[in-house]
Symmetry: C2
Amino acid sequence: MVVSSVTTLDVHDISRVCRTFGVGTFFVVTPLKTQQELVERLVGHWLKGHGAEYNPTRKEALLKTKVIKSLDDAVAEVTEKSGEKPCVVVTGAKQAPNRIGFGTLKEQLRKGGPVLLVFGTGWGLEKNLIRNADFVLEPIEGNNGFNHLPVRGAVAIILDRLLGRS
Amino acid sequence: MVVSSVTTLDVHDISRVCRTFGVGTFFVVTPLKTQQELVERLVGHWLKGHGAEYNPTRKEALLKTKVIKSLDDAVAEVTEKSGEKPCVVVTGAKQAPNRIGFGTLKEQLRKGGPVLLVFGTGWGLEKNLIRNADFVLEPIEGNNGFNHLPVRGAVAIILDRLLGRS
């Protein structure tokens, strides 16, 4: 899974949700060197620093969290690891021709083969990124037209729908 | 819905999730006067202060957020508003005799009648509170035994399961 431009709290929250649902790798994508260093320091603190002893659960949650400079690099890494180019599915886009529903994607995940789910924060994902994705996941609909979920909430709901037991 | 002892970010996140799924009132429960004031100031900023113009969406999300000093007060307020004592359902407890499943609670919500969902943060809910609840909601299971979701993620998943369309 990929999330672009996050806060340190996003990293913690999303790592815990990814770990709960068995996501292979959670890539934090940012082209900014300072942000990369910030996330690396945070992850290092909980994996190797005082945090590892203080809260082993948090350590476990962050074991598969990795900062990376671009989505292309994440795609390359998954391709190398799994020997297959991942199917790239972006989330949060309102309009898109190549839409995929939760049921269909859940089915695809069950069959196997790498899938890279892409989330954006704040002002959403770049248009180019949406155009180049294999699919755009259908939006989460509430029940009254209000559609401004925090990315942390959206990740939790989407992983539960795709990978949860119920 | 009730959440006890939250950070300001929890208030924002959970308010947005509640608004998405049409929750009647989101009560932030804290017995501490300083925390009550903090949450009231935050909500006031977005409802009446500069925040209301800067981000009307956030204002809309916080319209039904209310700080209150105890769960009993929340129960009393819901009872007064709806003319009926709410069914109190606590979440996050591992062991409980009076368990209710997502499907059964979803059905009950559809039929109508007030339901008060109770979440705790950090170190969980008081034992007394769990004993006095009408039901304990079944836990969210991931797919590998790791069970440490942030409360923000748990609220999102539970409201989606109970009130979402899919």
